[in-house]
């Protein structure tokens, strides 16, 4: 049994997103976080202080742990964004504005 089988899901054709340049398939309607979980990925950020990996924690947009850079924009909550074809998700390091470091 898997979740799709449990609810008798018949999704439309999958979309392809890029995670750190690697193609990952996303079902229509899934969030970016869900697509990454389905691919076995649970971390897509490193923290500002300790450089530790993080991913989705609360899953509903409250905890802000699932931040990553999406199509060049840092600090996006992947648990809220629906995956669109061609979305490029990159692992975010720290605050995500590395280009501003002096």
């Amino acid at each position: 049994m898997d979740p799709l089988e449990l609810v008798g899901a018949e999704p439309g054709p999958a979309r392809t997103i890029l995670f750190d340049g690697r193609p990952v398939s996303a079902l229509p309607g899934q969030t970016l976080a869900a697509a990454l979980w389905a691919d076995g990925v649970v971390a897509w950020r490193t923290t500002r202080v300790g450089g530790r990996p993080r991913g989705a924690f609360c899953g509903i947009g409250q905890c802000f742990d699932c931040l990553a850079t999406v199509n060049g924009r840092p600090n996006q909550r992947l648990c809220l964004l629906t995956a669109e074809h061609g979305d490029a998700v990159t692992t975010q390091e720290g605050h995500g504005h590395g280009e501003l470091d002096v």
Partner: protein, 467 residues
């Protein structure tokens, strides 16, 4: 029902939150002839409880992941046909302003790129709850997720955080989460519940008055039995192991005060952990308006309401989890009761009965699952308490013992615990406990969600700023 907003409309009632309480209130209010704005941050109706797969996923049997799906389906159908209700989806209200009318300020869309205001004569807060987290060593590892989060990701995205998932913490949500995760194909090596579940035995008359709650519990229990899932009571996950991802947990027995009993540790392998310690009413908007609160038996702050669901703020009603966590049936009943009060109509007898019984059950549940005072015994000094600002327990303890902090607010000012993105929603209850100060005080969040500065700068809603 119209899925759009008109800033020119003056609504009779604005309902914030489209979960059980908000849906029932909007439906009842429209039935009583009120013009209603149903405002919700999410894209669809249902809130967290009735969260369901996006239509594009083509789920033929969404009810498989739900208790009471039919109630939701009927409400959704009725609301879709209700000309008096506007569903303002993707609207995250960050402040409510009281004037002659209520003016709600909201961001729009998942990236808060746009804004909106909603004007209404009366306001109902049906914003539900979020999960309470108690930290333990390793709780920031990837693969450790909240029990509600695992539920939410499964219900909406049809995905699991791993294949072998330990479910831990306290409260009935653990049984519901484990039951759906198991049904969706996950192995559940154990449900680890901190209480003995004996607290319910003290309320046998209350249980007898709530046969539906007993049936719901029995349904979960039967499903868990079928999947061979073991409930380990009076135990807690005291450490999660792994470097870049969780690989296992250590579980220990707890005494009655939730202190881990030395020598009882046992390791369980897993690739995910779903954890939570009950729910916290989400009442930021009302707290900023000065609404009175009460402290529930499990130490959370809830809104104080009268028999008509009115808060202490004129024109502000509340229903469901905002008045104390009690589940969907209670929320549905209170939504209906609030709508009748707003419309100036007598309360329907059926909902009054449901509310009386379910509120008694809610009080029993809160007392049964209240965290014991010694849970902090498993928090090692190097455990990050605040996930956002990466503040270890050591810093919090030093703020108390060496710098004289005696409440959560002082600890926050000294350590930054609670100052990060989530504004203390994840660490707040834990910091309050570790500080030794009062628990169950409402948090103050003048803006209930992140708002772009440009939107704050145009609060009157008349001038448009160019990007």
């Amino acid at each position: 029902m119209v899925n759009s907003t008109s800033e020119q409309v003056r609504y009779d009632l604005a309902v914030i939150g489209a979960g059980p309480a908000g849906l029932a209130a909007a439906d009842a209010a429209a039935g009583l002839g009120l013009r209603v704005a149903l405002v919700d941050a999410g894209a669809g109706l249902g809130g967290q409880y009735y969260r369901h797969p996006a239509p594009e996923l083509g789920a033929a049997r969404p009810d498989k992941l739900h208790h009471g799906w039919r109630t939701f389906a009927e409400l959704r159908e009725r609301l879709a046909a209700a000309p008096l209700v506007d569903h303002l989806a993707g609207h995250h209200v960050w402040a409510a302003e009281r004037g002659e009318d209520w003016i709600l300020h909201a961001t729009r869309g998942p990236e808060a790129a746009d804004r909106a205001t909603v004007t209404a004569r009366c306001l109902l807060l049906a914003t539900g709850a979020y999960e309470r987290q108690l930290p333990f060593p390793g709780w920031t590892l990837p693969g450790v997720v909240t029990a509600g989060g695992a539920q939410a990701m499964l219900k909406s995205g049809l995905v699991l955080p791993g294949r072998r998932i330990v479910v831990a913490g306290s409260g009935p949500l653990l049984l519901a989460a484990a039951s759906s995760l198991a049904a969706a194909g996950a192995r559940i090596p154990a449900i680890v519940e901190a209480t003995a579940y004996l607290g319910y035995a003290r309320g046998l008359p209350v249980l007898a008055g709530n046969p539906a709650k007993l049936a719901e519990g029995a349904e979960h229990a039967a499903r868990l039995l079928r999947h061979g899932v073991r409930l380990r009571r009076r135990s807690a996950v005291v450490e999660a192991h792994g470097t870049d991802r969780i690989t296992g947990v250590t579980v220990a027995r707890l005494d009655a005060r939730w202190k881990p009993v030395p020598g009882t540790e046992r390791r369980i392998d897993c690739d995910a952990l779903a954890v939570g310690h009950g729910l916290v009413p989400q009442i930021d908007l009302a707290v900023e308006l000065g609404a009175d609160t009460v402290t529930t038996a499990d130490g959370t702050a809830a809104l104080r309401v009268d028999a008509q669901q009115r808060t202490s703020v004129p024109g502000l009603w509340a229903a469901g989890e905002t008045c104390g966590v009690g589940g969907a049936d209670l929320a549905l009943a209170e939504g209906v009761l609030a709508a009748h009060s707003v419309a100036g109509k007598p309360a329907p007898a059926r909902e009054l009965t449901v509310r009386r019984r379910r509120r008694a059950f809610a009080a029993l549940m809160a007392a049964a699952h209240a965290p014991g005072p010694d849970w902090t015994g498993w928090v090692t000094d190097d455990t990050d308490v605040c996930r956002c600002e990466e503040v270890p327990a050591r810093a919090v303890r030093e703020a108390v013992t060496e710098l004289g902090a005696a409440d959560a607010r002082t600890v926050k000012l000294l350590t930054r615990a609670g100052m990060g993105w989530c504004q203390g929603r994840m660490c707040g209850p834990a910091v309050a406990c570790l500080s030794g100060g009062p628990v169950g005080r409402p948090d103050s969040r003048p803006l209930s969600c992140p708002v772009p500065l440009a939107q704050l700068a145009q609060r009157d809603g008349t001038t448009e700023l160019s990007e």
